[in-house]
């Protein structure tokens, strides 16, 4: 990397590209070699270590009204130039521009794995929507603060381009992303714990390495008045899947859930179902998956009229090491489908 310049692609809107103001906000994505508009100041600030190889331009209205297609095109244009770092904006307090910069950052990070630096006024809606996808330097509310913002952006670009470890928001001058990042430190964990305990015992200041979050508490739902008329669904984090795990749900840190048709199934057998869960001895679940997902008992209750009916589909994922964010996302999608299917109650089984 020492003799090779860091490659930067710059994303800006139609206004900063000199195409026009609001009346030109509907221009579709385009690209140019080298710098355009504020790219010139960025180029100066980057000096010899990095080079702005291309600029991608899109009208703010066009981007926000054609989010999916515009972001796809912009990512393709960026990818072509093989950048090490992408700069979006700075957008200052321009709301739609900020949101576009944030969406570009998300798409670039998710699809290309390339880090993105931007600059925004803290109240720009793009900050809260996309802060976790980009290092967003805090700017003033107008382009008058361009001169302060650009050197700060350039500093982060060089740091990221060289692959140097990124410091905290306070150390580096970006707005906190809310992202946990591993770091190797000087002392082993046990020694850090001992030193923290000594500080705490002596009422001296110490910094916890993990500030505890405050939790959501979910209110229990209302009781079902008449279970014999209720449509009941099964949802499990115990990993019960049709034999062979057709959706390849991961044994830990699941990134997906499965939806499986159990119409006509009255018993889960060793030949037909198994668990994908990696967090427990699967022998008992694989021998008889009803132990985790009690289809057999519910079919009996259905036949006896004790419940109205068992819903045709069950949903399964693996709860082992799965992030709360993923679990919450699965729950939202599953719940929407269950409500749409007229399910009255759900039995959630875990392991």
């Amino acid at each position: 990397m020492s003799d090779k310049k860091i490659r930067v692609v710059h994303y800006i809107n139609q206004f900063y590209a000199g195409i026009g103001g609001e009346e030109k906000a509907d221009v579709p994505p385009s690209e140019q070699e080298g710098v355009v508009g504020p790219g010139l100041a960025l180029k100066t600030a980057l000096g010899n270590e990095a080079e702005v190889v291309a600029t991608v331009i899109c009208g703010d209205s066009y981007f926000n009204e054609n989010l999916e297609e515009a972001s796809k095109t912009v990512v393709e244009m960026i990818k072509k130039h093989n950048p090490d770092v992408v700069v979006a904006g700075p957008a200052f307090n321009a709301g739609r521009y900020g949101v576009a910069c944030g969406a570009v950052a998300k798409a670039v990070l998710d699809q290309l794995g390339i880090p993105v630096v931007s600059g925004m006024f803290p109240e720009n809606p793009g900050v809260d929507m996309y802060r976790k996808y980009a290092y967003i330097v805090e700017t003033g509310n107008s382009a008058a603060s361009m001169r302060q913002a650009i050197p700060q952006i350039a500093k982060l670009v060089i740091k990221l381009g060289k692959g140097e470890p990124m410091g905290t928001a306070a150390e580096e001058g970006y707005m906190e992303r809310g992202v946990r990042k591993n770091i190797f430190v000087e002392k082993r964990g046990s020694m850090r714990a001992v030193e923290m305990l000594v500080a705490k015992l002596n009422d001296q200041p110490f910094i916890t390495e993990y500030p505890m979050p405050s939790f959501d508490r979910v209110q229990p739902g209302k009781a079902i008045a008449d279970v014999s008329k209720a449509k009941i669904a099964l949802v499990t984090s115990g990993g019960i899947v049709p034999k062979g795990n057709p959706d390849r749900i991961e044994s830990s840190s699941a990134s997906k859930f499965g939806k499986y048709d159990i119409a006509g199934v009255s018993d889960l057998t060793a030949d037909t179902y198994e668990t994908a869960h990696g967090g427990y001895d699967p022998t008992y679940a694989n021998t008889d998956a009803d132990r985790v997902l009690p289809v057999d008992v519910l079919r009996e209750m259905e036949a006896e009229g004790k419940i109205g009916e068992l819903h045709r589909y069950y949903y399964a994922t693996v709860g082992n090491g799965t992030s709360v964010a993923n679990a919450a996302k699965f729950a939202k999608e599953i719940a929407a489908q269950l409500v749409a299917d007229g399910v009255d109650a759900v039995i959630l089984t875990s392991t």
Binding site: K181, I183, A193, L197, P213, S253, T283, G321, S323
Partner: protein, 429 residues
Amino acid sequence: MRLELGNIFIKDVQFGAETKVENGVLYVNKEELIAHLQDERLATIDVDLARPGESTRIVPVKDAIEPRVKVEGPGGVFPGFVGKVDTVGSGRTHVLKGACVLTTGKVVGFQEGIVDMSGPGAEYTPFSQTYNVVIIANPVEGLERHAHEAALRLAGLKAAAYLGEAGRNVTPDEVITYDCPPLQEALKQYPDLPKVAYVYMLQSQGLLHDTYLYGVDAKQILPTFIYPTEVMDGAIVSGNCVSACDKNTTYHHLNSPIIHDMLARHGKDFNFIGVVVTNENVTLADKERSSNFTAKLVEWLGVDGAIISEEGFGNPDADLIMNCTKLEKKGIKTVCVTDEYAGRDGASQSLADSSPLANAVVTAGNANEIIILPPMEKIIGDASADVVDVIAGGFSGSLRPDGSIMAEIQIITGATNELGFNKMSARML
């Protein structure tokens, strides 16, 4: 209780006609070792060697054990398994420092790990720095998983004890003495210093998530008191197939870092009174009972502060928070040691439970962070997709066509050890 640990520094490992330690080299008689490990539950047993810096990947690794031998004093190493159930922790023990036994073979419970002897993965595991004697054992057909786990666990312990014997009559390179007096005497020491204890949580969720204390499954214990030196003789043994990154292997227990670092500051910054071992059972009643007993014992020790270490994640987060809050409510200041599951992007909530009273936390890092492990020239065990894609931390496609692996660091043995064995932490960006 007073224990002398005699460390014999091992600088290489080789196969040889006789198992012995000479000039810092551990020679292993392969046939004799294999014969020593015969077990009707194991169909095949083989032994291989792996040294730091080699282009070698060992997978799936179940346990790591340091070779030790009891030279003086009651009992033998790994009481309840290899040694009889004598109370250990006094006298003299020799350690082959720098040597390690690793057990591998057919995957037991999806939660064995990877040890790379070089490359980026090597930075995350302590076992890339040790001279490893790898036991590759496969079960007889039809053996149930719990029996497979027990057989492999015992093979590792027996191998470590067998190799440790080679150090019995070797003069150690250093001898460290640990003196841990009984409670009444301990309380009188250093009257001007605050008193502290260690709450040592052992994985006991069951179904291949087990730890043993003097041979007893930790699920079945009530929290109890042990001397710090007892763990140095193998009173605590891992029977885990929990995620590789944050299971405490038997090696970690033998070298339990919080115990060692508390002993190092004993008499300087505080008076280290003792260790309370507790479990992490899955039912709420068990959790309540164990955390109540833990808080009661720590209070009974009369200490001002305690370090609490967790093993595993998710369900045991609840035990950690219960232990912490119950101690804090008794006015005992706590520091918790844990790791995080903050998602691959690091943006999710890290623990399954939380309390504002847990205001002093040391983290061993985010286990979900992605790493790419380059291909290695030599594989010990099985690095096919059948293993790599299914063990915890892997996913469909983890094993890539060129033999490299893209996976969460969860897949690396000891990567986010919650005894604070490593130098990794995490912070908020």
